[in-house]
């Protein structure tokens, strides 16, 4: 017998396999449906080429086979976790993804943490000041930020903080001739991440703010908060333990759902800030019609979202004990 948490994780990972396969088939079908292929994209980049060059390239890249033949080769490469070679980066797809993954994980993790904690904090304040000026300003402000496209916000931040004020580096993931020692390097990366994380985080904050505000307005009016008051607890303790904690559940649920959306958002942000991550790799792959690379990036994203959701479900148990019992047993998530 496995411990329940471990068997829950294994079961959820098994559930993920068909999801990954469906996504893989979807990617293939969509790219097949679109006119042109990698050779067209490559030749367009070169500025043209004759038919024999195109035929040679198609033979080289395995694009001369029938649709079924290519589909089988494609599926085989996925099942064997090989994922093939990318024309666009000129190397193994797996290697390209693995070298780019840390930057994206760091950007996304920091953005989610920033956006959720700021949203929870401001949403809580808005709930406590419900109906007042503060509430109105916060709610409206978050909504405006949510409506602004991420790339535009990113460009504005670059203009203000890089071009005018010169406080932050404008692009990249680290300085080329930056410090080599671990602490200096971490600080350098953090310095580079401030603007992209702010952009991505502010765009997605509205959701957390509104969720937290709504949930906390509810817990604030609950009998258990009145009972906590009747026990003479200090107000700060009541807000922290009896209002905010029970209100966190919808926020955590949204963290899992948002992971996928944020991955999409990071494609844009990584491109704006020239961060060598999964997002900018996806952008490169799509513009080059590089099927193995597109498939690799999309599947990496799929796996990432599945893992984040498992983590979210596991964290429910810590936040809402009512979930532990059924959720872990049945694996419904």
């Amino acid at each position: 017998m496995l411990p329940p948490t471990l068997s829950f994780i294994l079961r959820r990972l098994l559930h993920g396999i068909p999801v990954v396969l469906i996504v893989a088939v979807g990617v293939f079908v969509i790219l097949e449906a679109a006119p042109g292929d990698a050779v067209d994209a490559y030749l367009a980049q070169l500025g043209g080429g004759d038919a024999s060059l195109a035929a040679d390239l198609r033979e080289q890249w395995g694009l001369d086979r029938s649709e079924l033949g290519r589909f089988i080769a494609y599926l085989t490469s996925i099942v064997t976790l090989d994922l093939g070679r990318s024309v666009a980066v000129g190397g193994s797809v797996v290697e390209a993804i693995l070298t780019r993954l840390p930057a994206t994980l760091l950007l996304m993790g920091a953005s989610i943490a920033f956006s959720a904690s700021l949203g929870v904090l401001l949403g809580g304040i808005a709930a406590l000041r419900r109906g007042g000026m503060t509430d109105g300003v916060l709610t409206l402000g978050a909504l405006i930020l949510n409506a602004i496209p991420g790339f535009w916000l990113g460009l504005i931040l670059i203009v203000v903080f890089v071009v005018w004020l010169g406080w932050f580096p404008h692009a990249g993931f680290g300085s080329i001739n930056g410090p080599r020692d671990p602490i200096g390097r971490s600080l350098d990366i953090a310095w580079h991440l401030v603007l992209p994380v702010t952009t991505l985080g502010l765009t997605y904050m509205a959701l957390y703010l509104r969720l937290m505000r709504g949930a906390m307005i509810e817990t604030r009016a609950s009998t258990w908060v009145r009972a906590a008051r009747a026990r003479g607890l200090p107000e700060t303790r009541i807000v922290r333990r009896h209002m905010a904690r029970p209100a966190l559940l919808p926020v955590v649920t949204m963290l899992g759902l948002q992971a996928g959306t944020m991955l999409g958002g990071s494609v844009v942000i990584e491109t704006v800030f020239a961060i060598p991550g999964l997002g900018s790799l996806a952008y490169l792959a799509v513009s080059q019609r590089d099927l193995p690379l597109i498939a690799g990036v999309v599947l990496a994203g799929t796996v990432l979202v599945i893992i984040v959701n498992i983590l979210v479900d596991l964290s429910y148990a810590r936040i809402d004990p009512r979930m532990t019992d059924e959720r872990l047993r049945t694996g419904v998530g």
Partner: protein, 378 residues
């Protein structure tokens, strides 16, 4: 139960003065402003006086809107922001109504504990029940870690929670309604209050569990010497546990007398009506048949508080023109107080003599299967 110890200078509840009543309420008024500032104000409590000693059970009885819950919230200092209170509430001789909010919060829990109607709702769902009580011990008595947990388990055991060490680790949803209410009582007791306010503490519970929880509350009054204010709409419950009963109507006290005498010979027509409605309380007869006969009905609605004349007059079969014009004062009547011009004539009113009533049935004597409050007529 450990009221002193962590005495804070100037705390109103720390110096127990035996020469003062545990709780003394004078001319308490609660007024609700309408939320949108357009409607008229509502006078929920219209000048009531109450005095309670330690070890005493006083029951506030009345129908919805009689002001009993507003009274309780005013005593606890938990009224919403749109309510204003006047009068005085003295706890061990100290006026707590005049205290600023910070000092008032210290009184809550330490001086006055409260038990709510919905035992599930009054426990924070994401915290273990043990940590809820630990928290009260930390805030009011400065207990931490193992010392706090030991005291928590002792409190749970005192409140009839079996296997307290394991139950302390449980979350509220893992416990039954009766256990939750026991936990809520333990939390209310944790800071060692002199007065416990219980707002319909058994209404949400099964009949069997009701008897057990009432038993626990009455036992705490006897053992710990706290004063218990029990709010209920059920006169039968009040009669079974209270030393004194105060019947409230439209924000005022209609009658306040020792429980036995009040049940035996009510002094107010409203008490008579309440008693008639309380008699056949039983979920099922022994032969499995439900209640067939209709309960006696009190027609009409409660008048708003603060009008002229007796507020019960529109529904009262004995009302005269005098009743409708001049409100009767609370005057001494057979061991207590009654506010009725015709209190002395009530004995002749049909239905007042109710031989089935057996007040003060000891709770322990009630068989669990046959819980039916006095008047069950086995």
């Amino acid at each position: 139960m450990a009221a002193g110890g962590s005495a804070t200078a100037g705390g109103p509840t720390t110096s127990a003065r035996p020469d003062h009543a545990a709780l003394e309420v004078r001319d308490l008024r609660v007024r609700y402003r309408s939320i949108d500032d357009h409607g008229p104000d509502v006078l929920a409590v219209d000048g009531i006086d109450l005095t309670m000693d330690r070890g005493e059970v006083l029951s506030l009885v009345g129908e919805s809107g009689s002001g009993k819950s507003a009274t309780l919230l005013a005593l606890a200092g938990l009224l919403p922001a749109n309510a204003s209170v006047s009068g005085s509430v003295r706890l061990q001789g100290h006026d707590i109504l005049a205290l600023p909010e910070r000092a008032r919060a210290r009184v809550r829990g330490r001086g006055i504990g409260m038990v709510f109607q919905d035992p599930g709702g009054s426990l924070t769902p994401v915290l273990t029940v043990g940590s809820l009580i630990d928290e009260v011990l930390l805030v009011h008595r400065g207990l931490q870690g193992a010392a706090a947990r030991a005291e928590t388990e002792a409190l749970l055991a005192r409140c009839g929670v079996g296997d307290p060490a394991r139950r302390a680790q449980a979350y509220p949803h893992q416990l039954s309604g009766g256990l939750r209410q026991r936990v809520a009582i333990a939390a209310a007791l944790a800071a060692g209050p002199e007065v416990i306010l219980a707002d319909e503490p058994t209404t949400a519970l099964d009949a069997t569990v009701q008897a057990q929880v009432l038993d626990l509350l009455v036992g705490l009054v006897a053992d710990e010497g706290v004063a218990l204010v029990l709010v209920t709409h059920d006169l039968a419950v009040a009669a079974a546990v209270a030393d004194r009963i105060a019947v409230m109507y439209a924000g005022r006290i209609a009658e306040e007398r020792p429980a036995g005498e009040l049940m035996e010979r009510p002094g107010h027509p409203y008490t008579v009506a309440l008693r008639a409605a309380a008699l056949p309380f039983r979920p099922r007869d022994r032969d499995g048949e439900g209640i067939q006969e209709r309960l006696p009905e009190l027609r009409g609605r409660m008048a708003a508080a603060g009008g002229t004349g007796c507020s019960f007059a529109p529904r009262c079969p004995l009302a005269t023109d005098h009743c409708r014009l001049v409100a009767p004062p609370l005057e001494p009547f057979e061991g207590g107080l009654v506010a009725c011009w015709r209190a002395g004539e009530l004995a002749e009113w049909p239905g007042v003599e109710s031989p089935e009533v057996e007040p003060e049935v000891p709770l322990a004597a009630i068989e669990p299967q046959a819980v039916g409050w006095p008047g069950q007529g086995a």
